[in-house]
């Protein structure tokens, strides 16, 4: 109909490339490495750095699905409780006579179930906000964990199980290896597949996505279930590191995870941000914490640092989104189909 031709080759722009948030995070990591090794002689050696990764990577698995959840403009604050419940159920079923391999499967199932339940409630009751749903299940899941184990701890796992928490493959911690593999997997899933594209679409404009034939409900269910599964994986690693578990493990993990995702440049207004950013943020917070630990900074200072870092990073990401962001508004966060 029209003779006009439209360009379909994207020019590479240095400016756009360099203005990415991820560079800021990489710069932060470099600064942290420099500062850490200058204030502590124990930081800059291979064992130290690989030991460090082992201490903070367990909760980082939840970061992957949380990135997707926050891109979809939702939130899940029940993940910490899910970790606790999955871990407790795993230990209990094992001590009730189930082989460890099966107990691990049960753990993953419990995680998946918890996540699915969150997703199900959100999809069934579209008018409910994710904050309220996951706040309720957060109390509920940990409550169930307490019902099962009360204040006891449960452990006595077979020795091979501790490999999850402490094992090395060559010089590389097993947990790091798995993290990298999953990180690549999730990054590809989010950025290179139809599924990922649809996740962004949902976060940018849920109604338009639904009208475009995107199966919004199904995708939300999948992502929330994934969050549950990843929480269960965290539970496995955490339990393996402790060799036993209790209902109060993984307390406040959700906050750490959300802090990492927010620092990773994922806009709280939905639709924006990259997996890489969040992965880098895991290392920023992890090494920062570890470095401050090496100079034996008191725990309370650490709390302040993390809190301020979270707010500062969100402020900066907000500045980048420039004015588009509105403080939570009903029409913003909840689609209206009618």
């Amino acid at each position: 109909m029209s003779t006009r031709t439209i360009n379909n080759v994207q020019n590479f722009s240095w400016k756009r490339f360099m203005l990415q948030w991820e560079w800021m995070l990489i710069a932060l990591i470099i600064i942290i490495f420099i500062v850490n090794s200058s204030i502590s002689p124990y930081f800059l050696n291979f064992t130290s750095i690989s030991d460090a990764t082992m201490t903070f990577l367990d909760k980082a698995f939840i970061v992957f699905p949380m990135v997707m959840i926050m891109i979809m403009r939702e939130i899940d604050i029940s993940v910490g409780s899910t970790v606790a419940l999955a871990s407790v159920v795993m230990a209990t079923t094992f001590n009730a006579g189930l082989p460890m391999e099966l107990a691990i499967v049960v753990c993953l199932l419990v995680g998946a179930l918890c996540g699915f339940f969150n997703g199900f409630l959100l999809v069934k009751y579209r008018e409910l906000s994710a904050v309220i749903v996951t706040l309720s299940t957060m109390i509920l899941y940990r409550g169930i964990a307490y019902m099962i184990l009360e204040d006891q701890s449960s452990g006595g796992f077979p020795s091979w199980f501790s490999y999850f928490g402490w094992g090395y493959i060559g010089p590389i911690p097993f947990i790091l290896l798995l993290f990298v593999i999953l990180a690549i997997g999730f990054a590809l899933l989010l950025h290179k597949t139809v599924f990922g594209r649809q996740v962004y679409a949902i976060g940018s404009n849920t109604t338009a996505s639904r009208f475009s034939g995107v199966k919004v409900d199904r995708i939300k269910l999948i992502v929330f279930t994934l969050a549950g599964v990843m929480a269960a994986i965290t539970a496995i690693f955490l339990t393996a590191r402790m060799g036993s578990t209790r209902p109060n493990v993984a307390n406040m993990y959700e906050l750490d995870v959300i802090a990492m995702v927010a620092l990773g440049g994922i806009s709280t207004a939905g639709g924006k941000g990259k997996m890489l950013g969040a992965i880098l943020a895991v290392f920023v917070i992890g090494y920062l914490q570890y470095g401050l630990g090496l100079i034996n900074i008191p725990a309370q200072m650490l709390l302040i640092v993390i809190g301020v870092l979270l707010i500062a990073s969100v402020t900066v990401t907000n500045l980048r989104v420039k004015g588009k962001f509105k403080t939570s508004s009903k029409s913003d966060s909840k689609e209206k189909v009618s």
């Binding site: 502590s40 124990y42 930081f43 064992t47 130290s48 030991d51 460090a52 082992m54 201490t55 903070f56 204040d151 701890s153 452990g155 501790s162 928490g165 402490w166 955490l238 393996a240 590191r241 402790m242 060799g243 036993s244 578990t245 209790r246 109060n248 493990v249 993984a250 307390n251 406040m252 914490q289 570890y290 630990g293 090496l294 100079i295 034996n296 900074i297 008191p298 725990a299 309370q300 200072m301 650490l302 709390l303 302040i304 301020v308 707010i311 500062a312 402020t315 900066v316 907000n318 500045l319 420039k322 004015g323």
Partner: protein
């Protein structure tokens, strides 16, 4: 507008961080005196990890530890996670392993949960001992026991019996038993109660206040409601005993219901003076830390190895011997110390 606020906010943060850093390098903060030091190069470094920050018992214990280590001319590192969790302690231990400290003294948040990381520390040549709240025998070389659990359990029953003339209902208000100490003591209390001397004493309930103020208060109130004839509450936990005493004072039940157990003199001074708690017990956390400090030093110097029969000298406290327990070996500090109206004044400002 929003932009302006954002920038000014970031500026405030930046300045605050600068100021905080400035203070940090000023390094007058006692808590982290450990970081200032590269002075004595051949000096050893000994770390102690308490359950969580903001606990006066812990502060005093670490103070004692630091005194001992300083006396020996070494450097002390005092750490605690912000929450009483195993995860937090694991992270700290990893950091200490990276720093290649010479010894780690742990006040465990869980009996078994620290075994993997402590084993790793020992594999890297770090001497590990526990104090106050033990970790299992496989994860430590020796445990510094504040007092014999048997003695702690029995002495509280004896005290209660004396307070209520060997007759009436009593209840126990415990913490959560995660650190397993309380459960062990309660077992010994129950054993002691089987003696014919106490046949008129009835233990009606063991309640758990979770070591939370509000919870301990409601549990105490529930006990008083459910058992109107209750004569005494034993609270072998510092939070529980203070909460229970507070409830009794507020209700004006002095003399009708007595409270005893294990409490901090500073927290309990008020109630010992007003008679709610005629007396109570605790060990001296400063001494406990002090002893742990010397034990850590002795282990690091390979003066002792944690075997039964080893002996070492702990500064002003004299000589101690390593003894056998059901799970591993231990060093016993001594009997619990009794705090009563006569001596509480001199102790309440100490810890």
């Amino acid at each position: 507008m929003r932009k302006w606020w954002s920038f000014s906010f970031l500026l405030v943060i930046f300045l605050t961080v600068l100021v905080a850093c400035g203070q940090q390098t000023g390094g007058s903060n006692e808590d982290n005196s450990g970081d200032s030091g590269s002075e004595g190069n051949d000096g050893q470094r000994h770390a102690v990890i308490f359950k969580s920050t903001g606990n006066p018992f812990g502060e005093k214990l670490m103070e004692g530890f630091e005194t001992a280590i300083t006396e020996a001319g070494d450097e002390a590192i005092l750490r605690a996670p912000d929450q009483p969790t195993v995860e937090g302690q694991i992270q700290i231990i990893e950091e200490l392993i990276s720093q290649q400290v010479d010894s780690i003294t742990i006040i465990g948040n869980d009996y078994d949960g620290l075994q993997p990381v402590l084993t790793k520390a020992m594999d890297r040549g770090i001497k590990v001992l526990s104090a106050d709240s033990a970790v299992n025998g496989a994860s430590r070389l020796v445990h510094i026991n504040q007092a014999d659990p048997e003695a702690i359990g029995r002495i509280q029953i004896e005290a209660v019996a004396e307070m209520i003339d060997h007759e009436g209902q009593i209840a126990i208000l415990s913490a959560t038993s995660q650190a397993s100490n309380q459960n062990l003591w309660i077992e010994w209390m129950q054993t002691e109660l089987e003696k014919p001397d106490y046949e008129n004493i009835e233990l009606v309930e063991i309640a758990y206040g979770d070591d939370l103020r509000d919870k301990s208060v409601s549990e105490t109130e529930a006990l008083l409601q459910s058992y109107p004839d209750l004569k005494a509450i034993i609270a072998p936990t510092t939070v529980g005993i203070a909460a229970a005493s507070k409830v009794i004072s507020d209700k004006g039940l002095q003399g009708e219901v007595v409270v005893t157990g294990l409490g901090l003199p500073s927290e309990m001074a008020e109630y010992i003076e007003n008679g709610v708690s005629p007396w109570m017990y605790l060990w001296n956390p400063i001494d406990l830390g002090y002893l742990a400090g010397y034990a850590a030093k002795a282990l690091a110097d390979e003066e002792i190895s944690g075997e039964v029969g080893d002996t070492f000298e702990a500064g002003d406290l004299g000589n101690f011997e390593v003894t056998e327990t059901e799970d591993g070996t231990e060093v016993l500090l001594g009997d619990p110390f009794k705090f009563d109206p006569d001596n509480i004044d001199e102790w309440k400002d100490v810890y």
